[in-house]
Symmetry: C2
Subunit: 151 residues, 2 copies
């Protein structure tokens, strides 16, 4: 799907920060950072990227679309797994170079590893020495091999 919604050109800093024109700033690769949080719990589910088409599709459909840098492809979240994300609210930050999606996550989880969130490990405090991780909410909610069996 391709939505025809259009974005505004970027004006002055004041216009970008205080105005109501949507003028997203894409980076040199044509991407903008997108953070999806669970609309109920506030947990960060994933950090991903959108190109202009993914952003237009998200705005037009009310479901999350992203751009995969590794696969170099537009991607509707959940198109394979069924774990789609319905957009409850979409926000943009002050300089309009990041998008926040509050979503209703369908299915047991957002992460391709089988967890609810991609952020299932805590970075432990350290003052010198090798930094270590610890699992938090690390239980697998689904079997990735079964869900992504055609990938």
């Amino acid at each position: 799907m391709t939505d025809k919604s259009s974005f505004s050109s970027r004006g002055s800093t004041g216009e970008v920060e205080e105005g109501l024109a949507f003028a997203p700033k894409f980076d040199a690769d044509g991407l903008i950072t997108a953070v999806a949080t669970d609309a109920k719990t506030g947990d960060v589910l994933m950090v991903a990227h959108m190109n202009a088409e993914a952003l237009r599709n998200t705005i037009g459909s009310g479901e999350a679309w992203y751009y995969s840098r590794s696969r170099k492809a537009l991607w509707k979240k959940g198109e394979m797994s069924g774990h789609t994300q319905r957009v409850v609210e979409l926000r943009v930050d002050c300089d309009q170079d990041a998008i926040w999606l509050k979503v209703a996550q369908a299915g047991p989880g957002a992460c391709h590893t089988g967890r609810r969130s991609c952020f299932y490990r805590a970075v432990l405090p350290s003052k010198g020495g090798v930094v270590r991780l610890e699992f938090r909410d690390g239980n697998k909610m689904f079997d990735p091999k079964a869900v992504y069996r055609n990938s």
Copy 2:
């Protein structure tokens, strides 16, 4: 300050995703995306970047440090405004290329425009046509000119 904490080298996908070695992936500019949420409300306060030194300092000090791409400088959040961020929990995502900080935000807000969060505008649904924004939680909690008067 420079913390001596060290990171692990990146292993296989399985090691990066399922292991407990912290092997953050910095991009071509030496940066990793960092999302700070309010530990109490779950609201996204800001999306920023860290270089290795900012990440080490954050882990070592328990307070958020970032790297400013515009100023090309290491930056302790709140060093000028006093609006520091105490790290309640630090997490890393599956492929270890994004950091989530749950923080206790000191002072009235995180955003340089004077708001609590940098995400004070919603992107309105649209099917075709020019996309518009709407203020949400857009009240200024402090006067940026007074807080950043030396900048």
